[in-house]
């Protein structure tokens, strides 16, 4: 790892100020991606601003069906939240399968979303749940937030402070995990509202990162049943192709994971 300077912020405002005073800084949440990346010298920030001790960014609030998760909330806290489980158990299930127990004790929802790894689990949930990303300066809809591989709408120095969404009537997440890394080779999060609206987001498969599949959404809105996905075409031309799976294989996985998700919802 190259040399870096560590700073610990105790408030969102202090973190923004710290970041504005350093040349090539990065925010550090749980660090479960950033620290390994720095160890490999794939990232070399001049400064790190640690957000883990900012109490206003932690915690889960559920009011009726309205859910607010502080950005510094760990995967373990989401996975074991009784409040979230009561209204959106699919999100607890998703969080409980990220990484391993030790990673879940450190990794955070804000960190995962800000990083927008194309194989990360949370972006699919945030997009399918039509969540709002709350930052230190504005609110961003999930549809506007994820802009490409490891790319988001966040500006320089902007901090995600919370994720907000209304729990859907039903939801489920299914992933086909890489047998070695356990990262999603394809993961599908599906959410259905009381009015019949369906949102379905795919992670691990898109060559441009997480995406909604409108064809599957339309088919499931018309017929909420696992069989409804059978005749939907998933275009392989926009999908990732690598040593783990070809684009055509992933296209099929999208349909299979969608089918399993609807069955599990």
């Amino acid at each position: 790892m190259y040399q870096t300077n560590y700073h610990r912020a105790s408030s969102v405002q202090e973190a923004v100020e710290m970041m504005s005073n350093v040349p090539e800084g990065k925010y550090l949440a749980g660090g479960m991606t950033l620290i390994p990346t720095m160890k490999q010298r794939l990232a070399a920030p001049s400064d790190l601003v640690d957000l883990r001790h900012i109490t206003e960014m932690r915690g889960i609030m559920v009011d009726g069906r309205s859910v607010r998760i502080g950005a510094a909330t760990t995967h373990e806290e989401v996975a074991t939240s009784v409040e979230i489980r009561a209204v959106c158990p699919a999100l607890c299930g998703l969080a409980s399968h990220i990484g391993d127990p030790h990673v879940r004790h450190m990794g955070t929802i804000g960190g995962s979303i800000a990083n927008n790894d194309p194989a990360a689990d949370y972006p699919a949930a945030v997009l399918a749940l039509d969540a709002t990303i709350v930052t230190d300066r504005r609110e961003i809809t999930a549809d506007d937030f994820f802009t490409g591989l490891f790319e988001t709408a966040l500006e320089d120095g902007e901090i995600i402070t919370a994720i907000r969404f209304d729990a859907p009537a039903t939801a489920a997440y299914q992933k086909f995990a890489n047998p070695a890394s356990r990262y999603a080779m394809t993961g599908v999060f599906v959410a259905r509202r009381d009015n019949g609206e369906v949102r379905l987001a795919v992670t691990g498969a898109g060559s441009n990162g997480v995406f909604r599949h409108r064809g599957l959404e339309a088919a499931l809105a018309a017929n909420w049943s696992p069989d409804a996905v059978a005749n939907v075409t998933v275009d392989a031309s926009d999908l990732l192709s690598d040593l783990h799976a070809s684009a055509a294989y992933r296209a099929n996985l999208v349909r299979v994971m969608a089918k399993r998700a609807v069955a599990a919802a």
């Binding site: 190259y2 040399q3 610990r8 550090l28 640690d50 127990p101 004790h105």
Partner: protein
């Protein structure tokens, strides 16, 4: 440079290191506690697992500076007054190790697992919970047996205490 203070195995410690120094290196090199191992260096193998503020973490993927002010327990901190921790006893009784390199991380992971699940652990859960720990000798069978035995004993003794 970072001036680090933390509590390790019940003792107040301090040391000076680079801001980039990993917690595992601070524990091993500054504090001389070499029971915590570095195996893969890619956050996968779990040989470096320690307890930080009541939860298991991979000390190879946390900066010492991030851990400043925290309370750490390493493998050296488990035995009390010369008596092995029940998980350590169970690993010994069930031959849960061969070369022993992964064992500190396995034991720390097992302690955390039992903390969260109590005596209700079953084999499937133990195997799923070992996702972040790699052993190249045992094939895991005796590690799983040892953790189940320790969970039963610790869960049982907790019930007796209640």
């Amino acid at each position: 440079m970072a001036n680090i203070r933390m509590t390790v195995n019940g003792r107040q410690v301090s040391g000076v290191c680079d801001d980039r120094t990993l917690l595992v290196h601070f524990i091993r090199e500054n504090l001389g506690l070499t029971g915590t191992h570095v195996g893969c260096d890619t956050t996968q193998c779990g040989a470096c697992v320690v307890d930080m503020d009541g939860q298991s973490v991979k000390s190879c993927s946390i900066l010492a500076a991030q851990a400043a002010g925290s309370t750490i327990t390493t493998i050296e901190g488990l035995a009390q007054n010369g008596d092995l921790h029940p998980v350590q006893e169970a690993f010994k009784a069930h031959h849960g190790l061969q070369c022993g390199f992964c064992t500190p991380g396995m034991v720390m992971t097992a302690v955390d697992m039992i903390r969260r699940h109590g005596g209700n652990l079953d084999e499937e859960t133990v195997r799923a919970e070992l996702e972040g720990n790699i052993c190249r000798c045992t094939g895991y069978h005796n590690i799983v047996k040892a953790i189940l035995a320790a969970a039963a004993e610790m869960g049982g003794s907790r019930q007796a205490a209640e």
